[in-house]
Amino acid sequence: MRIVHYLNQFFGGIGGEEHAGHRPEVRPGPVGPGMALKAALGGTAEIVATVICGDSWFNENLEEAKATVLGLIRQHEPDLVVAGPAFNAGRYGMACGAVAQVVTEQLGIPVVTGMYPENPGVEVYRRYAWVVETGNSAAAMRTAIPAMAAIVKRLAAGLEPEPGTYLERGLRVNTFAAERGSARAVEMLVRKLKGEPFTTEYPMPSFDRVPPNPPVKDLSKAKIALVTSGGIVPKGNPDHIESSSASKYGKYYLGDVDDLTAETHQTAHGGYDPTYANADADRVLPVDVMRELEREGVIGKLHDYWYATVGNGTSVANARAYARAIAEDLKKYEVDAVILTST
């Protein structure tokens, strides 16, 4: 079996964040984690080539990236594609997922990857790949590689991977049951009426959606607040918000600020190249323009505080808790609307 492996610039050995804009390239044979994968696969399959692309370039040029990476993969005529593992790296997970989608749709071959369950790539692309559950950082490489190799081996042997060894894909699979559907449904209903436990055959997906609020009626009278997950903080990061897996958010006074500069503000965010945000944090939190619009009367008022946390690797539960606290505060100040920026 021939495998092409997809990696980002970091695991592909090109470099860190400063190379996240790296365009797709292909190298013969295994690279980086591909070495461990090769060892774990034994003689089952051969990694014939490795495609490497920068995480930012991939996500910022999604359609071109998918087409280019697909072209590079196709050249090597694989029977299977492995992507990552991406752990909890959001851009990397999204790239691995997009590769899985385009490979599945265009080449019709299976894709195996590994991600932390909260990686957005899981939610968006799970149906296109066999996604092994990994820990949230590269420290979990030791367990991720054997788990991915086990799935590759099953597929190479023409077998379905065992349920439980991958994250649920949201695909329906045909099976045969002894009783017909109506009988099973009635039995379930009777159990339910009796208060007995029963197992549904079709769990409803839990979409947690919030209906949109009515729009702002009159901007010129509205108080607008800025919130960001891009980590913009006063210079020196007084609250020590962590660059990854933030344990808090910050609330900062904006009343006397007209413009964010390299001398006064910075980002605390890891995971993306901070050069541009540190040089001019208005690129993430547009205070300069909001002040201008306030002076011109386009908006009523820019709220006197901004709120910031770091989205990098921060758990969904924590992000939810921070936003709830922020929203409470915004209501106290009678803020009418929010612009939330993300990197």
């Binding site: 509205a222 541009y276 547009p286 409470e328 920026t341």
Partner: protein, 76 residues
């Protein structure tokens, strides 16, 4: 975060680069941004043009906040 602010009853617009994530998370008003490390800027532009770009994006975000929407809407 967007969803919790929306849930609290405050209209919110999400300005972000990776729109598929915003859609998955459940933002209702979405404005696509420039790039991951500089969503509301472009360091390749001269300062005045960069600021004009930022103003356009913020205006688009404000327009999104004044537009009634039924469900998830991307303001291209």
């Amino acid at each position: 975060m967007v969803k919790e602010i929306e849930r609290a009853g405050i209209p919110v617009v999400h300005v972000c680069t990776v729109v598929p994530i915003s859609l998955t998370v459940g933002a209702n008003r979405i404005v696509p941004a420039v790039a991951i490390p500089h969503p509301l800027g472009n360091p390749a532009l001269p300062p005045d043009e960069e600021r004009a770009l930022r103003r356009r994006l913020v205006m688009k975000a404000l327009r999104a906040l004044t537009t009634p929407v039924d469900g998830q809407t991307v303001f291209e």
